[in-house]
């Protein structure tokens, strides 16, 4: 009986996190656009505009290029599915998520990677120049992000003697000194760089460009329409929220529900929303004042991230 | 007595061949005599492998396990070569390149050659050994020059001049050994009997023996084809008729080496292994280096095979330098394996010369595609010579190297491995040019006649069999090794 309730609560928490991220993703997009337009002196669309867009897209008809295979259809689905799966088991709202002890940071990263790989493949499946261009560029960036990301994780994991996500978050709550440690600060800095690169924000990619030749992410999804496009937008935004949520919980873990109970979960949600919105807004502000980097200047940026992470790892190791 | 019969039969066959104008059956008669030699060798081996040596004529002829083994080597490879000679002579006569008289001469010389080699290995007297080896030089000179082209004559001139000098040095060495034996303290009856030399080995004067052994290694080394006295070898082997090349490269070299082994045993008794080891290592490494350098940009496939012989003689010299029972057993196995493989290759190259009409490597192309049987034999022969399993050369090389490392010649093993790798690379690239490639359009794949492919394949199979099966050779090898290792 007790076990059953436990399982039920676990499932509820999981669904709750997923729902929160699913709704929060588009809203975050809306928020960031709002901030940008305000700073640029425009009124801007309402914050919930992306949700409306999604509803419209899901109602529209789906198209696929001639000569494309099942991979084209699979791309968006897997993209969203991967984000959903990792969201369900990660310590976003609650520090003890379902299957918590098996939610491993490396695993999470590789699952997310699966999504972006499928998207890149489906872009190639369109059989157009733009699809190839987009996936080639995003794969290049991904290949260069990978080292920074993994070494950053390693830096945090060495300090905490584990790569288990909830454990990493709880360590922050129990020993705040760990957060202040240079290892984690450096690691998180490079983690942030990676987040920006992976989710196609400035200065790596301009999400609101309409010129194919400058596109990276947009070029990949050029052929999608209707529900598929909706899924992609949803998935991307969810991933942004998920990564930012992880980031803030690793950096300022306070407020995360570290024991069961509706109240604590509610608090955790509020804390998460607050922190993510703050970070999102900051990014938006930052984006206003930066221009997109040239593609072949990106390695320098990512190498910088990598070096930060490596320094973090070394500081964590050398006692 | 059996040993005497052993000598008699080929000699008698030679006389018969001399008496009657050449016919096909003469050829088969010669082949039969070689078969007899092989069988006798086996019988002798069975007789002496576990018992003391047989001797005849007051020890002038003496057969122990080592001699028996060498008789087997001569019989086996001689059988291959003589059996192919039939075909060779038929071709020569039918094409009018040589008259029946010369064919007769050829058969007689070959039989004499065989007899001389047999005498060398069954002689119990080192003087007689010397005479026999010298006799092989004289006989083979005519065989090398058999084709009477300018190149053939040039080759035989170089061959006889260089080898006579060498063999003369060997004679001086023999004389000095005899001198040392004469002055060995407290010995009554002194002769050039190998056994008596062995018995007084410990009393021989070291100074003289050092000089003697050095001269012997230099002298017989010339016949073995050890650098720096190897220079006659590529010319002679590339100019002689294919069967003769097979005999010379497969057997003659190792017969000379057999004599060296006997003398080494005597000298080691007097000097310890150190000095002979120094000589053999020097000669062996030099030979390997020369072979490696000259194989790199070789353009003639018969010369390639000749240098390959230089390499293998260097290898067995190194094995002998190690001198442990295992090493000598491996050396003997290598002698047999190399003899078979090299004979097969020379015979095959003779066929290639006949069908392609060129001895340059870059004139011969795509053999595997155009002449599958011949190309296959050549390819597998090369594989065998490069020391890859299942052929026996691999296992013998492995054990020689083991012995070298065991006696502290690890650096020698390392150097020889490097040189062998270089040789592998160059031979591989030459073989690639000859064997691989596409058959020209319209040309059909030729089939080789059975009387060519069967003996050659048989030789390869034998070479593989002795490399895989330990029985029955193993005991003989060990017994033979114990003859020269105390």
């Amino acid at each position: 009986m007790n076990g059953l309730t436990h399982v039920l609560t676990q499932v509820l928490v999981a669904l709750f996190q997923v729902a929160a991220v699913a709704v929060g993703g588009p809203l975050l997009l809306g928020l960031m656009r709002k901030v940008r337009s305000r700073l640029e002196g425009r009124a801007g669309a309402p914050i919930h505009q992306p949700l409306l867009d999604l509803r419209k897209l899901f109602a529209k008809q789906r198209m696929r290029p001639r000569d494309s295979s099942w991979v084209f259809g699979a791309g968006p689905v897997v993209l969203v599915a991967t984000v959903v799966a990792v969201t369900a088991v990660s310590p976003l709202v609650s520090a003890s998520p379902p299957l918590g002890q098996s939610s491993d940071f490396f695993a999470v990263v590789f699952v997310l990677l699966l999504g972006s790989v499928l998207l890149a493949l489906s872009a190639l499946d369109t059989g157009t120049a733009f699809g190839g261009m987009g996936s080639s560029r995003s794969m290049t960036i991904g290949a260069l992000c990978e080292p920074a990301l993994l070494v950053a994780i390693l830096a945090m994991a060495i300090a905490a003697r584990t790569s288990n996500l909830p454990a990493l978050v709880r360590v922050g709550i129990s020993h705040p000194a760990v957060i202040a440690s240079p290892a984690r600060i450096l690691a998180l800095a490079s983690f942030l760089v990676v987040i920006l690169a992976e989710s196609g924000r400035l200065p790596v990619d301009n999400p609101s460009t309409h010129l194919e030749l400058t596109m990276i992410h947009e070029a990949m999804v050029l052929e999608y329409s209707g529900a598929d496009l909706g899924l992609i937008i949803l998935g991307e935004s969810m991933r942004l929220v998920f990564l930012l949520g992880l980031f803030v919980n690793l950096f300022v873990p306070w407020g995360v529900a570290d024991r069961p109970g509706v109240l604590f979960v509610g608090l955790g949600l509020l804390a998460l929303v607050a922190k993510v919105c703050a970070v999102g807004a900051t990014i938006a502000v930052f984006e206003v004042f930066t221009a997109k980097l040239r593609l072949f200047r990106l390695p320098e940026l990512l190498a910088g991230g990598f070096v930060l992470a490596l320094l973090g790892a070394l500081t964590a190791v050398v006692r | 007595m059996l040993a005497f019969v052993l000598l008699l039969i080929p000699a008698a066959t030679g006389c018969v061949a001399a008496a009657t104008p050449w016919r096909r059956w003469i050829g088969w008669l010669c082949t039969a005599s070689l078969g007899f030699v092989l069988v006798t060798g086996v019988v002798l081996a069975v007789l002496v492998v576990h018992r003391p040596a047989l001797s005849a004529f007051g020890g002038v002829l003496r057969v122990d396990a080592l001699s028996a083994f060498m008789v087997i080597v001569i019989g086996a490879i001689g059988l291959l070569a003589v059996c192919q000679s039939v075909r060779y002579l038929e071709r020569e006569v039918s094409s009018g390149r040589s008259s029946a008289r010369r064919a007769t001469l050829y058969s007689v010389l070959v039989q004499g050659f065989i007899t001389a080699m047999l005498l060398a290995v069954v002689a119990g007297n080192v003087g007689v050994m010397w005479v026999a080896v010298e006799a092989t030089t004289i006989i083979t000179t005519f065989l090398v020059g058999y084709r009477r082209t300018r190149e053939a004559l040039e080759a035989s001139w170089k061959y006889v001049i260089i080898c006579s000098v060498g063999i003369a040095l060997a004679f001086l060495g023999t004389v000095l050994v005899y001198l040392a034996a004469l002055h060995a303290g407290g010995v009554t009856h002194v002769s050039l009997q190998w056994t008596s030399l062995m018995s007084v080995a410990h009393h021989l004067d070291p100074g003289v023996m050092r000089l003697a052994l050095a001269l012997l290694v230099l002298g017989y080394g010339t016949k073995v084809g050890l650098a720096p006295m190897h220079s006659w070898l590529p010319d002679a082997h590339s100019q002689a008729p294919a069967p003769v090349s097979a005999l010379m490269s497969g057997v003659l070299l190792t017969v000379a080496f057999y004599v060296l082994l006997r003398f080494k045993a005597v000298a080691d008794g007097a000097l310890g292994v150190g000095f002979s080891r120094m000589l053999f290592v020097t000669a062996g490494l030099l030979s390997l280096a020369v072979a490696a350098s000259l194989l790199l940009s070789q353009r003639d496939y018969k010369r390639m095979l000749a240098y390959h012989s230089v390499e293998h003689m260097g290898l067995i010299a190194l094995g002998a330098a190690a001198g442990t029972p295992l090493a000598i057993a491996a050396v003997l196995l290598h002698v047999l394996g190399h003899g078979l493989a090299k004979a097969v290759l020379f015979l095959a190259s003779g066929e290639i010369l006949i069908v392609e009409g060129a001895t340059e490597i870059d004139q011969v192309k795509a053999l595997l595609a155009r002449r599958p049987a011949l190309g296959g034999v050549f390819a597998f022969g090369l594989v065998a010579l490069l020391g890859l399993p299942p052929f026996s050369l691999f296992i013998s090389e492995l054990n020689m190297l083991r012995a070298e490392v065991h006696v502290g010649l690890g650096w020698v093993a390392a150097i020889s491995l490097v040189l062998m790798a270089v040789i592998f690379g160059s031979v591989m690239s030459h073989g690639r040019h000859m064997l691989f490639g596409a058959r020209p359009d319209g040309e059909v794949a030729h089939k080789s006649p059975l009387n060519v492919s069967v003996p050659l394949i048989g030789g390869l199979v034998a070479c593989g069999a002795i490399g895989v099966l330990a029985w029955p050779l193993d005991t003989l090898l060990r017994a033979a090794a114990m003859v020269v290792v105390k």
Binding site: - | Y178, V208, R210, L211
Partner: protein, 219 residues
């Protein structure tokens, strides 16, 4: 005869052998060289006979006579036959000129003395002291084979080598056992025959006068 005369005879004969060796290096005319060779052969036979007389050894005396016949008469005649049908009967330009080759021969003689010290020490008879001369003859013969361009000169060189060895054999061991001795001399005879045949063929069929022309076979 008494010891003194014996050893002086021996020394004269042996000295004659090595002297002939020097002469072959010194002369250019092939005929003269062959003549010298004959003299050397005779001297060699004399050495054997003297030894035989000294030791009351009939076999050795017989061998000595045989040597005189073979090396003093038979072989030189054979070689002369080669000369008979070769027009250019002069060693015009040896690879090393005569003076320096004579110097070289001197050096080789010293080497021979150095190298045979253990042998001399072992034998320690009046005959034994002469062994180095045999070795020196051998070296000089070998040397002349290296530096002389004519087929005949090379044959002669080979025979010098052989005579040197025979000299050593007689002086050191009063001759190896008869069987071997005969076999050896027979072999030498045959080698000369072979060489002669080859030389004649090379000259008559391919007009090879000079061994430097034998460079068809090379890598």
């Amino acid at each position: 005869m008494n010891g003194a005369t014996y050893s002086s005879f021996l020394e004269i004969a042996a000295g004659l052998v090595i002297l002939c060796a020097f002469v072959t290096l010194w002369r250019r005319s092939l005929r003269a060289i062959v003549r010298t060779l004959a003299v050397q052969g005779m001297a060699l036979g004399v050495v054997a006979i003297v030894l035989g007389v000294h030791r009351r050894d009939v076999v050795l005396i017989v061998v000595g006579c045989l040597v005189v016949l073979a090396k003093g008469l038979a072989i030189p005649t054979l070689v002369r036959r080669v000369l008979a049908n070769e027009p250019m009967s002069r060693e015009t330009s040896p690879l090393v000129n005569v003076p320096s080759s004579l110097v070289g021969a001197g050096a080789l003689t010293f080497l021979a003395y150095g190298a045979t010290r253990p042998v001399v020490a072992l034998v320690s008879t009046s005959a034994g002291r002469l062994i180095p001369l045999g070795v020196a003859t051998l070296l000089i013969g070998f040397f002349s084979m290296v530096v002389r361009r004519k087929a005949v000169s090379q044959i002669v060189g080979l025979l010098l080598v052989d005579n040197g060895i025979a000299l050593v054999a007689f002086l050191a061991t009063a001759g190896v056992p008869l069987l071997v001795e005969l076999g050896a001399s027979l072999d030498v005879l045959l080698v000369v025959v072979v060489l002669r045949v080859l030389a004649v063929q090379l000259w008559s069929k391919f007009a090879v006068l000079d061994l430097d022309q034998l460079q068809e076979l090379h890598d």
